[in-house]
């Protein structure tokens, strides 16, 4: 290998040396790409094929073409007369997923924006420490954080026990196994994902602009609306996408806090590969989720590109 490259470099032009260099770079990247193809991209392609097959009796698939998996995303076939009707259960799960993800994103934004602003306006010496404080929950196991929320809001949990002991309530407040519980959990779990990108976009923010705004008799609200928000918009968009995408595909948090009735898309997909025994429907639902995520990402790329042009 090395004698080879010496010979080539000595005897030929700079162009082939460049080609050689590129080949070496690609060669270095190949092993990682092979693993990623085997365990990330490749399986997605197989899944796409599976979405067009018929479900097997005990899970798995039968190798016969069928579009039932795809129809199943929104429709259901009547077992008696074979007519297709809108599957209310499926639509409500999809709707719940989108609704809860949007609400989670909004609540994260309400908390995340002021927090990022707070960190960005600290003196440089303590800024890293505040940032570190946001990073710690972020790197703590998601399961543990969900479990911590569960212990707080359970019927025999910390909040209900405390309220009972001071006599504020007779019966525990039922929070667990509701949509609200899922939203609390997801907000808690994904909040750092909102703070970090907004902070990143504020880090280079020139606070003299805020000052200039005040000098020109702008109200605080106007300063926020006209100066701060437009300039940190890329961070807000990035944070919203980073919260929205994992919320939409959430599995652990809704499974623990929502219970068996309040399914989200992630649980519904997993269900098809377990008790549901409908792999093609599960595959079709997965691809549906993937498409929604890709659309959101595309929106993000465009949104950031646009705001970059407008203010950059």
């Amino acid at each position: 290998m090395s004698t080879d490259s010496h010979l080539i470099q000595a005897s030929t032009s700079a162009e082939t040396a460049q080609q050689n260099e590129t080949r070496r770079h690609i060669l270095l990247t190949t092993p990682a790409l092979i693993v990623l193809f085997c365990a990330a991209s490749g399986p997605l392609l197989i899944m796409a094929v599976y979405s067009f097959l018929s479900p097997g009796d005990y899970g798995g698939v039968q190798w016969s073409f069928s579009t039932d998996g795809w129809f199943g995303v929104f429709m259901q076939r009547d077992i008696f007369d074979d007519t297709l009707t809108i599957a209310d259960a499926h639509v409500s799960i999809l709707w719940r997923s989108v609704k809860l993800s949007l609400m989670t994103t909004i609540v994260c934004l309400i908390f995340g924006l002021p927090t990022a602003y707070f960190i960005a306006t600290r003196p440089a010496s303590s800024r890293n420490l505040w940032l570190f404080m946001v990073t710690i929950p972020f790197w703590t196991n998601l399961l543990i954080r969900t479990f911590a929320v569960m212990e707080l809001i359970r019927n025999q949990g910390v909040i209900n026990t405390a309220l009972k002991s001071i006599g504020a309530i007779e019966e525990p407040i039922q929070i667990m196994f509701t949509d609200f519980a899922i939203m609390i959990g997801m907000t808690y779990v994904y909040l750092p994902l909102m703070v970090l990108p907004i902070y990143a976009s504020m880090e280079k923010f020139d606070f003299r602009l805020v000052e200039a705004g005040y000098d020109l008799y702008a109200s605080r609200w106007n300063v926020l609306k006209r100066i701060i928000l437009p300039l940190v918009k890329p961070g807000i968009v990035a944070g919203s996408i980073l919260v929205f995408i994992p919320s939409l595909g959430a599995y652990v948090t809704p499974r623990i806090l929502g219970g068996g009735k309040n399914l989200m898309l992630g649980n519904f997909i997993a269900l098809q590969f377990g008790q549901g025994r409908n792999w093609p429907l599960g595959a079709a639902l997965s691809i549906t989720l993937l498409v929604i995520v890709m659309v959101a990402l595309l929106f993000y790329v465009r949104g950031v590109g646009k705001s970059g042009n407008a203010h950059g």
Binding site: H25, P114, T115, M133, P137, T140, E211, V223
Partner: protein, 278 residues
């Protein structure tokens, strides 16, 4: 930034507010920090409970830590988790280092964008989607070969660890001075010797940071492990997920607190590694 902080004291005296503050922002931020940590405190607190309740404290004891330590299922899952995380993060780090060397400090070549997309794919695709896709693939391999070992989990974890290892290594590489390597090459060092003596020592903090990130990511994974594992291959997170369906004792709190401590220690080391390097 510096200018603004020099101006602000004058403004403070001139007006009743600091120009940097937005009404209510500080309050919201304090509430936010409180909310981030509030749920974790009872979790750790009740792990030291002498009683079996998660809401009444009956005295301090290490009872549940001892219980977890003596629980064979917990120890078994812990060993499997660490083994899996160590294997996946090491392989991922080697592959990611090579990939980072192959994609940075080079003239853009055809397919470079496609390579970026592929490397970052695990960050963009929802975990549940990757998990069921792997389930489909591995189910047919399992049926065909009758092999049910750890290799499935290791390759799955390696794949999603690659971008986490890749990003810090690449960031480090991009900040590195190319002239040192050129100098080594000028002094007739072979490419391998240049890498070993010059590139690698400079790159080391990035590699270590990447490996630690990958390790934590693998250790924390629930969704992909849960769907890919064969029976009897519980990792610590999937074991805990199974326990949550039953009556919970502070034993789960004890395990959680230990994992929490591990995460905090790892993040702290990572934090200082990054700070030194930058």
């Amino acid at each position: 930034m510096a200018d603004a902080s020099m101006v602000s004291p004058a403004k403070k005296t001139g007006r009743a507010f600091s120009i940097r503050k937005q009404t209510g922002f500080t309050t919201m931020a304090i509430v936010c920090f409180f909310l981030l940590y509030a749920p974790l405190l009872p979790l750790v607190f009740y792990s030291f409970n002498a009683g079996t309740s998660l809401a009444f404290f009956e005295g301090f004891s290490f009872r549940w830590y001892v219980a977890a330590w003596n629980n064979d299922l917990v120890i078994d899952a812990t060993i499997r988790s660490v083994y899996l995380a160590a294997a996946a993060s090491s392989i991922a780090t080697v592959l990611a280092t090579m990939a980072a060397l192959g994609t940075t400090r080079t003239k853009p070549y055809k397919g470079l964008t496609a390579i970026y997309v592929m490397i970052n794919q695990p960050l963009m695709v929802p975990e549940i989607v990757t998990a069921v896709a792997l389930l489909i693939l591995f189910a047919s391999i399992k049926a065909a070969t009758n092999y049910h070992g750890m290799a499935y989990l290791i390759i799955a974890h390696t794949a999603f660890c690659i971008p986490f290892a890749y990003l810090p290594i690449r960031a480090r590489l991009e900040g590195m001075d190319l002239s040192l390597e050129t100098a080594a090459a000028d002094l007739y060092a072979t490419p391998w010797l240049t890498f070993r003596r010059v590139t690698f020592p400079l790159l080391w903090p990035g590699i270590l940071a990447g490996m630690m990130l990958a390790f934590v990511i693998s250790l924390d994974d629930v969704v992909i492990t849960e769907l890919v594992k064969s029976s009897g291959q519980d990792t610590l997170p999937t074991y805990m997920l199974g326990q949550l369906r039953r009556a919970i004792t502070p034993e789960v709190n004890a395990i959680s607190s230990v994992l929490l401590a591990v995460s905090v220690i790892m993040v702290t080391i990572f934090f200082f590694l990054n700070r030194k390097s930058s």
